[in-house]
């Protein structure tokens, strides 16, 4: 039921609305005013609370289910990070008065910049980008600004492995680059011969996710680094999978010049049903002048925000204010709770969980896409053979998992692996949870062989069954409208 159907004309929550007594006259001329009220719902406070509480209960979430969503790093989001980011003093800070009234907040931001420099090994950090995709944009814009500043304007091409996230080529296009895809070899590494043939004076840079979206560590990273750098290109690290190496390997040691981090993955800030994210960028010293503003600087005991007037070569602002402050506070709390020892273990236990789950699923009869490889923090299962045998495909398995009380792995990504499930357990899941997941997968495999229709028509226990997405796109219904005025 939509909130609108609970509405009754004339109902007002007097407790939530301001008093209207003693108002002066409205001096806004009529030509600027609305003639009829917007058709918003008129609901009691109780009905609104009940409606949205009930809607929340229709969701699967990390707090209620195991969420093995590959490439998304759905680890536990510490409750205390939320509590502390929502302290009333932080919530009341006006973004235009941070230097005068937010020194405590800016201290957290400055220290977060320092922590991110340490874990990436790079020289400078900006917290400004509001999401991973905006961090990518900032990173590639810096690559372009760097080449332009050197007068090196012939570099018009960004190289992207074919296994990359869709954001990589989309970002390169937004920065005015053409995109050339580099194939992947049969063992899941970048095809280095193809790369060597692709680089040249037109190469601005290579965007690489390592470990890759296939869930394996790029073993030829040293050769790739030499190939790109010797052609004059820069190396961009897509931090989507940083959780796999956090505290273990620093991107700077692999030769990366610029990267973005997804704090909503690696630093455990909530995904919130699809945002807010946060995508800070880190760069080598050569690229530091181009970082997006503002940047938190420390002068004596005072923190200040360096803007474009103090950083003339900056690629500029990415938002109206300073970025996703509340998300950054949550990431800071998480980082301080982990400390050095905790941070060193993130990759270890994320990798242990992934390799254990991969081993157990293989024993259960599932085919992994790269059986000769170690899993990083995630791995790919291919259901091509199962589909040929039973008609049950990757989406069917994903939907049936919902019936078993688990969220689904990422499906049909990466595109290179046919009938693919990308599974990422994260370090915060216990062995018991992983064992329960394996058991569910075994049951589904048996069902696929004995009663494929049961799996193909899943889910059966969710609030709705499979949705008609064709109808959704064909008969567009994107907003409720009042019947009387339609």
């Amino acid at each position: 039921m939509l909130i609108f159907s609970l509405s009754r004309r004339g109902r007002v929550n007097a407790a939530q609305a301001p008093r209207e007594t003693e108002l002066g006259p409205c001096v806004i001329p009529a030509e600027f005013l609305r003639t009829d009220p917007p058709p918003l719902p008129e609901i009691s406070e109780l009905d609104a609370v009940r409606h949205y509480t009930r809607l929340s209960q229709l969701n699967y979430s990390i707090d209620t289910q195991f969420y093995p969503l590959g490439s998304c790093t759905m680890k536990y989001n510490p409750r205390v990070a939320n509590t502390l980011a929502m302290l009333p003093q932080f919530l009341a800070l006006h973004p235009a008065a941070l230097e005068d009234t937010g020194q405590g907040f800016l201290a957290c931001m400055y220290e977060l910049q320092e922590i991110l420099k340490s874990v990436t090994g790079l020289a400078a950090v900006s917290l400004a980008p509001m999401a991973g995709a905006q961090g990518e944009f900032a990173g590639v814009a810096m690559i372009r600004a760097y080449h332009d500043a050197r007068g090196d304007r012939a570099r018009r091409e960004i190289l992207v492995p074919d296994a990359a996230h869709g954001t990589n080529p989309a970002t390169a296009a937004m920065c005015g680059y053409t995109v050339r895809e580099i194939p992947t070899d049969t063992s899941g590494d970048v095809d280095t011969a193809a790369l060597a043939g692709a680089v040249g004076p037109q190469t601005a840079g290579l965007m690489l996710t390592n470990p890759s979206t296939l869930g394996v560590f790029e073993r030829h990273i040293a050769e790739i680094e030499r190939t790109v750098h010797s052609a004059g290109g820069l190396l961009y690290y897509d931090g989507a999978n940083l959780n796999a190496i956090l505290g273990k390997v620093r991107p700077s040691d692999m030769g990366f010049d610029v990267l973005h981090l997804n704090l909503h993955k690696t630093f455990s800030t909530p995904h919130g049903g699809g945002g807010p994210g946060s995508g800070p960028v880190a760069v080598s010293a050569e690229l530091a002048p181009f970082l997006p503003v503002p940047i938190v600087e420390q002068h004596a005991e005072h923190y200040r925000l360096a803007d474009e007037t103090m950083r003339a070569q900056s690629i500029g602002r990415l938002s109206a204010h300073i970025g996703q402050s509340g998300v950054l506070l949550r990431a800071y709390v998480y980082a301080r709770m982990l400390g050095t020892t905790g941070m060193r273990r993130v990759a270890e236990f994320a990798t242990l969980n992934a390799n254990y789950l991969m081993a157990e699923l293989r024993k259960a009869g599932f085919e992994v896409a790269y059986p000769e490889r170690r899993a990083s923090h995630e791995f790919t299962v291919t259901l091509k053979a199962l589909k040929e045998r039973t008609g049950v495909n990757a989406m069917d398995i994903a939907k049936r998992l919902l019936d078993k009380g688990f969220y689904a792995p990422t499906t049909y990504f990466p595109l290179l692996v046919p009938e693919c499930l990308l599974i990422e357990p994260t370090e915060t899941e216990s062995k018991q949870t992983l064992d329960a997941f394996v058991l569910a997968m075994k049951e589904i495999l048996r069902e696929a062989q004995t009663d494929p229709q049961l799996v193909k028509s899943a889910p059966h226990t969710t609030p709705v069954r499979r949705l008609d997405e064709t109808k959704a796109a064909r008969d567009l219904d994107l907003a409720w409208r009042p019947a009387a005025s339609a």
Partner: protein, 464 residues
């Protein structure tokens, strides 16, 4: 260690199942040289009590002020229920609703949000949010250019928030798009349609129309919309969504309405929170929906004919179209939109209208009190919503500093972005200010200005 539940026995059993001796062996595909650099020392780990202590001390360092700053981020009362529900784990810790059957809560909230934003803007469709108002404006500029047959020029008045204009420039910089900044009429504080008609502006894809504009002044939106449309360009409305409970919605501007409306959703239930996270919204005419960036939710039916919700029109997006996508955006600001939807449902049309009315009345009252203060004047004389630019007879920085010492954030200095105004201050009043707050503001200003300013005998009165 924090947040890792493994016992020693678990680790042993897991390693045995994998068939390796140690956790370190799982990293044997990574060249040894890369593993040779251990993480440098970070601050030591803290437990929950210690981090609570630390963060409380940081927060207490930042004492609370009565803020009269707006400038794109507005202090409003947010009902207690809004964030109690929005931070339920089921909303807070779920992800983008790819698996629709397990995400109907988030999907229905987004559909209801889209419905509410179309109600406020009087435009046919909206997306499920963008990062913030400034980046939403940049996306609208890109969308207009994609839509227009020939021109890659977009007109943006200087009455648009300076940071928004800077953000647009950053984002469109490498896409061969020309941004033309338009002047405003100085005594009025808005764009003069007559002046535009006389300017040689050539072909352009869109005109951005802020309402209210950065100065709080109401723009002649009907004339500007019609002027842009008559020139074959799109009208992009940049609006404060709260004001739309009171002001004419973009879909009704001029003869045909604005084509795209964007803005920052922060005034609808999102705390100031040091500048974010907020969210950007975007609404448009139905014909433009396939050019709109970001996630969109549609209502459909399930296999048994029951109503349900799903992401739709995904063929526009980066995970399908890669380098040919409408934008690289993938996340939106789902949690903020969840809070905003609950906020709008709790306040309803009448509650939001009252908030907007009280803000406007508060500004009027403050301006009335200040009109009696010598040495204070309004910069612009056109009607305003809940912000206004003031000038003082003494340096603005001195006034703001003295107010701060009294626990008041007195406004935003306009000096660096609008030097032509001189020493201006942008002041905002919302429903969070009582009449006594306004009286105190006025009396402090009178004292501060009076301390420094004594008009010569027989000098003209400097009050408005």
């Amino acid at each position: 260690m924090p947040f890792v539940p493994h016992t020693d026995e678990d680790i042993r059993a897991m390693l045995a199942a994998i068939g390796v001796e140690s956790v370190e062996a799982l990293f044997d595909e990574i060249p040894r040289s890369l593993r040779a650099h251990p993480l440098p020392e970070l601050p030591p780990a803290t437990n929950e009590l210690e981090i609570v202590r630390l963060m409380h001390s940081r927060a207490e360092h930042d004492r609370r002020y009565r803020t009269f700053i707006g400038a794109g981020a507005y202090e409003h009362h947010v009902p207690a229920a809004v964030w109690q529900i929005a931070t339920r784990g089921e909303f807070y810790t779920s992800y983008t609703p790819y698996q629709a059957e397990a995400s109907q809560g988030t999907l229905q909230v987004l559909y209801e949000y889209q419905s509410m934003m179309t109600a406020l803007t009087a435009l046919a469709v909206t997306n499920a949010s963008l990062y913030d108002g400034a980046s939403a404006l940049a996306e609208a500029v890109l969308m207009a250019v994609r839509t227009h047959k020939s021109s890659r020029r977009v007109l943006i008045p200087r009455t648009v928030h300076p940071s928004y204009r800077k953000t647009v420039r950053t984002i469109v910089k490498n896409q061969d798009i020309e941004i033309v900044e338009l002047p405003y009429d100085l005594p009025r504080g808005h764009v003069d349609p007559q002046y535009l008609a006389e300017m040689e502006l050539g072909d352009f894809a869109a005109l951005v129309i802020p309402q209210p504009n950065f100065f709080g002044v109401l723009e002649p939106v009907d004339a500007l919309t019609d002027w842009a449309n008559a020139r074959g360009a799109l009208a992009i409305a940049l609006v404060n969504p709260l004001s739309l409970a009171l002001l004419k919605p973009p879909g009704r501007w001029g003869r045909n309405g604005a084509d795209i409306a964007v803005g920052d959703g922060q005034p609808l239930g999102i705390p100031l929170s040091a500048g974010g996270p907020y969210y950007g919204f975007m609404a448009c005419r139905k014909e433009l929906v396939r050019q709109m960036p970001g996630r969109i939710v549609g209502r459909t039916v399930d296999a048994q004919g029951r109503t349900g919700f799903a992401l739709t029109l995904q063929a526009r997006e980066q995970h399908i179209r890669r380098s040919r996508a409408t934008s690289n955006i993938c996340t939106n600001q789902g949690l903020m939109v969840t809070a905003s939807t609950i906020h709008m449902a709790l306040l309803g049309p009448e509650g939001l209208r009252r908030v907007a009315r009280v803000c406007h009345a508060g500004l009027s009252m403050l301006l009335g009190k200040l009109s009696a203060v010598p040495g204070v004047s309004r910069v612009f004389d056109a009607p305003a919503f809940h912000e206004s630019a003031l000038k003082f007879s003494v340096p603005a920085e001195d006034v703001l500093r003295a107010l701060r010492a009294r626990g008041i954030l007195g406004g935003l200095s306009l000096k660096s972005d609008y030097p032509e105004i001189g020493d201006g201050v942008l002041v905002c009043v919302t429903e969070t200010k009582t009449e006594s707050d306004l009286s105190e503001y006025a009396s402090h200003v009178a004292r501060i200005v009076g301390d420094r300013f004594t008009p010569a005998p027989c000098a003209p009165n400097s009050a408005p």
